[in-house]
Amino acid sequence: MLQIKNLHAGINGVPIVKGVDLQINAGEVHAIMGPNGSGKSTLAKIIAGHPQYAVTQGEILYEVNFKKINVLELEPEERAREGIFMAFQYPVEVPGVSTSVFLRAAFNEICKHQGAEEMDPIEFDEYLRQKIKLLGMDEKFVNRAVNVDFSGGEKKRHEIVQMAVLNPRLAVLDETDSGLDIDSMKIVADGVNKLRRKDNAILVITHYQRLLNYIIPDFVHVLYEGTIVRSAGKELALQVEEQGYDWLAQ
């Protein structure tokens, strides 16, 4: 589904990602772990298309419905319409725009692009309420401005609500566990697990292993100083938890 080949990228001329190769197939859950500053979040943002980062080399190919797409050529919104989703590490507050208006616009854009039927406000509200319940959030969030006056945990849960609403083929979860207490993390993980299917894939980016106790990955990769230094099964996460990252650096 997603193929990253020899990706080099940076910000303001400073290289951060230095030759990443990664293959993710439909139905798989991959985890990328790594210390602070290793380039994990940069990688997530590049997949989603953040304009601040410049790709200097390599490519990202995305295969969906038998068509191959060169992701780097697409605008962020075009990537989203093709089914790429990123849950933000720091979700942005959007004052004055209600969650239901915002998400309906997003949902309908994707439907329009994929040839599915769009929803009217009443239909969508009902749909959104279901997803909000799935993540154990209060229905009042539907009418509140996007992420405004949400607690840190609510913002993170709200990202997964959005994932549930938009039903992506590839979801990149950027440090979704940071700032969550254990109960919230379980709810979030439970929500993500419910969204796992054979035809979609999830890339979990995390600093700590604990989230991976709840979202069990098929593959774990360790990113260190901009390159993947080790890839293995889920046991690698435990090893990192016990021994840290230093042994992988050598």
Binding site: A48, G49, H50, P51, Q52, E75, P76, E77, R79, A80, R81, F85, M86, F88, P91, V92, V94, P95, G96, V97, F102, L103, A105, A106, E109, I110, H113, A145, Q162, L166
Partner: protein, 438 residues
């Protein structure tokens, strides 16, 4: 300051011509008022950028043109008007300054509401009108106020009697409809609301022909008596090549409430003055405003709140969206007189610059002579945050739509302060083209 320019002379000639032409039409006190105002205007001449009050607003393009009065009063754009003016409201439609009976619905007015053309009121309601005029010292008035008064003939007088509660929106529509260029209209609205009454008034300034240059020099005087609440909104959506200079003067007595809103979207150059005198204990005023401009538009909002009595409150929130190479000016004066203890006054101006070339000059001006008061003010000028735009884009929303949505979000809170659905809908209608162009 007396301007020596020839153009100034031309305008004065125009005024003299007006006075010759209308001789005998008005009661003598009106003729006196026009004459005094004329002399005041002639003495002042037009301001330049050297004038503190006009420091950021160059009106040379306005005053260097030679205007004439509209040759006719027929509305060419009836369909367009009807999208905006609905029969559920009490409509007073003035086309090029003259009342259009067929577009207005002034029959069967609710009890306690009187609506007259200014000329009728001059003849029949001289005492009430003079009471309003007396509130203001003619020697303190600015040139454009003096100009409208010197030319006082077109306009409307609205009177709401004591204890009357008018549920429907009273909608005064000033529309300029012309194919001729360089038309001037000087609409003058006078409003008197009695004690313990309630009313909602919307004044709209419209034009539909984007090709013509015209000048609206508007004045509205509002007198609010004790215990009365007035919701008042001025919506300016003139043609993009036109000029609008307007003043609204509000005089409030004890325990009255003024809930004011100004929307400025049209016009090449707009200057809007809103002056509120809190002349009775416990009076409160809300002055909220929104301006959204694009291209080479210039919009200048000046507010003045004069706290003359104790225990009054005033709250101001003005927001602006500036696109293209447009310019915005906000100047908010708050005077607190020595007697006006326990004054509570708040002022905030927030601007969103979307255009690379757009700019804003914002300036609070507080003169506080009482010691037991609470006054705060602030101003912000900002741009949309790249992370905000990216967040929306990552949710499949196109860059352009993201900007639109975030701009909507920026104005949402201020629009929600208008506590009237009908007015809110109309303002949204006027804002539509602005947002479509973002």
């Amino acid at each position: 300051m007396i301007s020596q320019s020839e153009k100034h002379e031309t305008l004065l000639n125009r005024l003299q011509e007006f006075q010759r032409r209308t001789k005998g039409e008005f009661p003598s006190w009106v003729v006196d008022l026009q004459k005094q105002s004329f002399e005041r205007a002639a003495k002042l001449g037009f301001p330049t950028l050297k004038d503190e009050e006009w420091k950021y607003t160059n009106i040379q393009p306005i005053v260097e043109r030679v205007y004439h009065f509209p040759p006719e009063t027929k509305l060419r754009e009836v369909t367009q008007l009807k999208q905006y003016v609905h029969s559920d409201d009490i409509n007073i439609v003035l086309v090029n300054g003259s009342l259009a009976q067929d577009l207005s619905n002034l029959k069967k007015l609710p009890l306690g509401l009187k609506i007259l053309t200014l000329q009728e009121a001059f003849k029949n309601n001289g005492i009430e009108l003079q009471n309003i005029f007396k509130k203001y010292d003619i020697h303190q008035e600015g040139v454009f106020v003096a100009l409208t008064k010197a030319l006082a003939h077109n306009g409307v007088y609205i009177e709401i009697t004591d204890k009357a509660i008018i549920e429907k929106v009273i909608h005064v529509v000033h529309v300029t409809s012309t194919t001729d260029t360089d038309i001037i209209t000087t609409p003058y609205t006078m409003i008197k609301i009695g004690k313990s009454a309630e009313a909602t008034i919307l004044e709209s300034y419209l034009g539909f022909n984007p090709e013509v240059i015209y000048f609206t020099n508007a004045l509205t005087d509002i007198l609010i008596h004790e215990n009365t609440t007035l919701k008042y909104c001025k919506a300016q959506s003139e043609c993009l090549k036109s000029y609008h200079i307007g003043a609204t003067r509000v005089w409030q007595e004890r325990d009255s409430n003024f809930l004011g809103f100004s929307l400025m979207v049209g016009g090449e150059i707009t200057r809007n003055n809103l002056d509120v005198v809190l002349n009775g204990k416990g009076a409160s005023a809300i002055l909220n405003g929104l301006y959204c401009v694009n291209g080479t538009q210039l919009v200048d909002n000046h507010t003045l709140v004069d706290h003359r009595q104790p225990n009054c409150t005033s709250n101001q929130l003005y927001k602006g969206i500036l696109n293209g190479s447009s310019r915005g000016v906000f100047n908010g004066k708050i005077f607190v007189q020595p007697i006006a203890q326990k004054t509570n006054s708040y002022q905030l101006n927030k601007n969103l610059l979307l255009g690379k070339e757009s700019q804003v000059n914002t300036k609070p001006q507080l003169e506080i002579e009482a010691d037991d008061v609470k006054c705060t003010h602030g101003a912000t000028i900002g741009q949309l945050n790249e992370d905000e735009i990216f967040y929306l884009q990552s949710r499949a929303i196109a860059h352009k739509d993201a900007i639109r949505m975030l701009s909507h979000g920026f104005v949402d809170d201020i629009l929600s302060t208008i506590q009237n659905q009908t007015i809110c809908q109309k303002l949204n209608l006027l804002l539509e083209p602005t947002f479509a162009a973002l």
